[in-house]
Symmetry: C2
Subunit: 419 residues, 2 copies
């Protein structure tokens, strides 16, 4: 068999093979490791996986990469990012260190509305130019597919602008982008005290406009997401938006239980959301519901770290009860300015007691399923897209054991070496 | 005036100028910022510092670097590392996540003695080869000067071997290395139950041998350091070693209060140690003593982070009482496999509530004084060594605001571009 590329002699090839869907519970410990592993690629797809000896016997490759002494694994999938935004909020970071509360910062015009003002004022070109260095860092840290949310526009025109920026960025660099409409990220200042009116706007005007934008291009609809939280959208408001979105054919996501438990996890399960994200203060009975459901738990450990909050997702409970857990960065300018999935693994092991293998499953195959990309990416299996990274590490346990540096040596997207 | 190099147009040039010694208390907030800043270098030294307009009027340079939109600052100084060691301990990391205690791991032959066995078995060449990638990562993250300890040999021959490896590494790559003798890092297995006999060995055989090694080369003595901790060396044993070392002319350092408060901080102040390091559970009265003394407090936030322990150095109290605080990585294979000083700043701000400017002072000029290198490095001042880094950040607050990625774009050591 002829291949464009043969990666061979990997100390450990982590296949993450999981043909039946996301890895749940104890299955997250199984990385499908092939020692002295090899993978062959043709036309951007994986055409064979096995030991180096097996593939050498059957594959003639135009190019070879020797991964001796290194780990080869699927590219990371980052299933929750606020990639597109204008400006930054380092001043608020310092104010928080000096003791200002989040509410004081909000009252001074800070917080999400700070970024909304600047994002509204920015052109598509400016927004894309500001996001591009973040995408370069994501790619350099091994992320080959990422979700990207709107949510700093909060008008129909500005939300559509953000979704167009995601499309523009997808065509300009290698990281594959999966869009999410998050018009219900915050109640904008001009709707202060009239949250229900803003909910009407999201349902009556934004959702149809967003659906039309994708349908006109013959594309499937993006995710619809809601920030269900005190100060953002109540459980009832979240339900109205998500039910309307579901009725129009949007797949669902929801931000739940970041600061206050409002019942959003139960809602996610009830509505069949693809994922429920954050999950910091989720009550035990909702964790149990979630673990038995098909909704994927997306944990964002960079956010409590970024805020220096002590509480993280009860990820151990989710996995131990048989749930499917994914990890994401939550990259955003307020609470988590971090593009690195390797760092999320370091956090997940230390603060949520995930085992290294579980954290890797959460950041690859499960993250792919959390954005409905599990059929194409997230594992090294025949027929899947050739999204592969090579780590300058002798075995997979080094990935979370070390921290604060970048172990990614080479990144391959659709069969092309891009880093 | 003629220069080899002119770096100009920096959005912010952080001089860290502090001619009178380390920055103490409120002075740590002052970074000596020059906007549109420039620095001129000749023969590896800084010959002029000012605004771009000022230097353009007086300097003719053979090479120019445009730092527009970027931060220019002194290279980081990392004043506490265990750079030289053989092997790694990722298996113990996983065992800890699964609930094993440090004592269980010790009983199974793990912990420091795990690394000691492998370090004793390794040749100088092997030890240097294993440390080299760590030095490359340190340099890539902006560290231009670092302390490096012995302490995994624990025989006279193996401790000297480690110190020779430090010398070898110093000649093979750009990071300048300052050695520390840490024969009293642990009581080796062959002295189990006979700690006092090992203390005798350190005092009677190791210290003289180490002193002879440096004196024969006409060099000043390295630091002598002791791990004062339950399970390592008692306060009385630490005192005996440090007093003997001081009597022979060694400058002193001491690991104190990492897990148990034994009175080591008071001892450090009494003996005039150059630094007291770790300082996690130090009692308030010893913090007050330290803050009034000339002993520099070296905080190692990567260690609690690495262990996922909740307690960090009471750094705010040290600074607020007028003390001089420095930051270091504590790079080591057990608790903190991290070479990045930028990540230590991110931790220091979040978990110790340092302000961004204080953290930068702690990682440059104060870190330099913590290893008695403050006269040559740690600030951008005329006559100092040209150890300079350029950050791909628009202002200094971005340095700790972002985390988990590397903001260092260019590294200059003794006037040479090395990254």
């Amino acid at each position: 068999m002829h291949a464009d590329l043969l990666i061979h002699s990997a100390a450990q090839l982590l296949t993450l093979a999981s043909p039946a869907g996301p890895k749940r519970g104890a299955a997250m410990q199984d990385l499908g490791i092939i020692e002295d592993g090899a993978v062959a690629v043709a036309e951007g797809e994986i055409i064979a996986v096995g030991t180096t000896a097996e593939l050498r016997a059957t594959v003639q490759a135009r190019r070879e990469i020797d991964a001796a002494g290194r780990v080869v694994m699927p590219g990371f999938v980052d299933p929750h990012t606020h990639l597109v935004f204008a400006g930054s909020r380092e001043d608020e970071f310092e104010l928080r260190l000096k003791g200002a509360t989040y509410m004081e910062i909000m009252a001074a015009g800070g917080g999400i509305m700070n970024t909304v003002r600047r994002t509204r004022a920015a052109s598509e070109e400016e927004l894309a130019a500001q996001a591009m260095p973040r995408l370069r860092r994501m790619l350099a840290h091994g992320t080959t597919t990422a979700e990207a949310k709107s949510g700093y526009g909060l008008t129909t025109a500005d939300e559509l602008k953000m979704l167009r920026v995601v499309d523009r960025l997808a065509g300009q660099q290698p990281v594959e982008l999966v869009p999410t409409f998050l018009g219900a990220h915050a109640v904008p200042a001009e709707y202060a005290g009239r949250a229900d009116a803003y909910v009407e706007l999201v349902i009556e005007e934004m959702l149809p406009a967003v659906a039309a934008y994708y349908r006109e291009q013959g594309r499937s609809l993006p995710f619809c997401d809601v920030f269900c939280e005190d100060g953002a959208f109540s459980l009832e408001q979240s339900r109205r938006i998500l039910e309307a979105a579901r009725g129009m054919g949007f797949p669902l996501k929801i931000h739940v239980d970041e600061f206050q438990p409002l019942g959003g996890t139960r809602l996610a399960v009830e509505l069949g959301a693809v994922s429920a994200d954050h999950l910091v203060c989720t009550p035990a009975e909702e964790i149990a519901l979630l673990a038995r459901s098909n909704t994927i738990a997306v944990s964002l450990p960079g956010t409590p770290f970024g805020l220096a909050h002590p509480a993280y997702t009860p990820a151990r409970a989710i996995i131990d009860q048989g749930g499917a857990l994914a990890l994401a960065t939550d990259l955003n300018p307020g609470t988590c300015y971090c593009e690195s999935m390797p760092f999320m693994l370091a956090l997940a092991c230390r603060y949520m007691k995930l085992w290294p293998a579980e954290a890797i499953s959460a950041a690859t195959i499960n993250a792919a399923h959390a954005i409905r990309m599990g059929h194409r990416v997230g594992s090294i299996e025949k027929g899947k897209q050739a999204d592969i990274i090579i780590l300058d590490l002798p075995n997979y346990r080094h990935l979370p054991y070390r921290f604060g540096t970048n172990p990614v040596q080479m990144v391959i997207k659709r069969g092309q070496v891009v880093v």
